[in-house]
Symmetry: D2
Subunit: 144 residues, 4 copies
């Protein structure tokens, strides 16, 4: 259970609005815990494609998730549109730790926040490989 | 396999932009066939909530899906944003047949099109019940 | 709304048990209409991999969905385990029409039934291509 | 990135086999990171319903997820069947911390492992409430 003060919008460097979907809600009437992680990898990969040159279909280097975490502070529900905030907390030779905040529109405190670690690998061998230069530059731009 | 001419935007009466998500793509690199149906029930329920007074948490009358169909003409893929077009093809006493088109942005011909039939029921008994007046008025407004 | 008599288990030629998941249920307490289609492509692809030699990662020929349909007769809900029944209704040069029944365990009448059309294509060009011999033989074995 | 020795089957107290689904795989050919969390809440809620008396539709006390985490060691892919292992690491007055291991069949070392914290609340007020006696007994039985 989180004891840190809640995350706020000013702590993030890139935002993507994500509309919830009918199926995101579970039987208790709110977005299911699992679905937040799909918001995480959507904001991350959208940023990598738009800014970092990630080529999902054919690029030599791809990012694989090795760890993820989420703390849930207050619920969101369909048909809310949420804003996913993104920052880079650590950028290593071949890995990056992202931190993500999920914000209800009109609210400055996060509904949920978490982290996500990518290791970049060669698509064929799946061995760790240095973050390509263009992607590294994009990730540097959103370092906290 | 569809033999009708492709659906175009002018044939729909209400539109909702829906960004694709990373997870929507399957192993073949395009949005999985299943996910189109989540676009269908998202545009439908968003319209019912915003325009028809559907109260998902507490309303006495809810819509249950009894039939759905989709024909796929050309693929879409993350990170595309699609526009879901909606019209009402038939409005009965307690049921409604929606038709839906999925459009890639900048394209006038549908990437996929389908239908979806709701029967409105009493939340408690799950027996068919007439479409409430406010919802009927909202559905009349988007009849084809 | 379906007017045919309900499908029964004897009308299907291959079965796969599929446990429901917590997330399959929507806010109304039953498996969401969308999720049935994931049961459809799971039973189909499981059969193609196990019996027809489908190589998802590297095969030259892959199946793409061009049409799907489902009629819903009675709900299922987590934690039910359903049986997905499969048969081939039509086998053409490069396409196949599957029919699928979703059965609650202990019930002989389908909770839902539908169809799904695959066109087989070359992985690279995505042009229609004849169904490979081993796959054709597997599909012939479950023809209705 | 995990530095602990990998989790093994002997460290878990309850197991549920979960077949993967076609849609679980993402564009890189393995089960998407998000989907592991749906295995988590499936094994947890299946246990609570079967052993702890959880009544999803009408019970006065429900469990809400406040934190979750997963570390990914090696991939799984459709059509694998995985075994989800479950244990209780901490049982408080109104909360429980579960630990989960995801095992490929025939392997003793976990493909992924994580944790998940439930707070039990009153369904109406959503205020924290003591874990009901029958559920507490069920949770005690799988304490590590």
């Amino acid at each position: 259970m989180p004891t840190r003060p809640p995350e706020t919008r000013a702590q993030y460097r890139h935002f993507l609005p994500i509309p919830t979907r009918w199926m995101d809600n579970d039987v208790y009437g709110h977005v299911n815990n699992v679905v937040y992680y799909s918001y995480f990898d959507t904001v991350i990969n959208q940023y990598l494609i738009a800014e970092g040159g990630l080529d999902v279909a054919a690029g030599e280097v791809i990012g694989l998730c090795v760890e993820s975490h989420c703390a849930y502070a207050r619920p969101v529900a369909f048909p809310d549109v949420i804003d996913a905030g993104l920052r880079v907390a650590h950028l290593g030779t071949s890995s990056v730790r992202y931190e993500i905040g999920i914000f209800a529109q009109g609210h400055d405190e996060a509904s949920a926040s978490g982290w996500f670690v990518h290791v970049f690998v060669d698509r064929g061998t799946r061995k760790a490989t240095p973050v390509p230069a263009r992607m590294r530059a994009a990730l540097e731009r959103i370092k906290a």
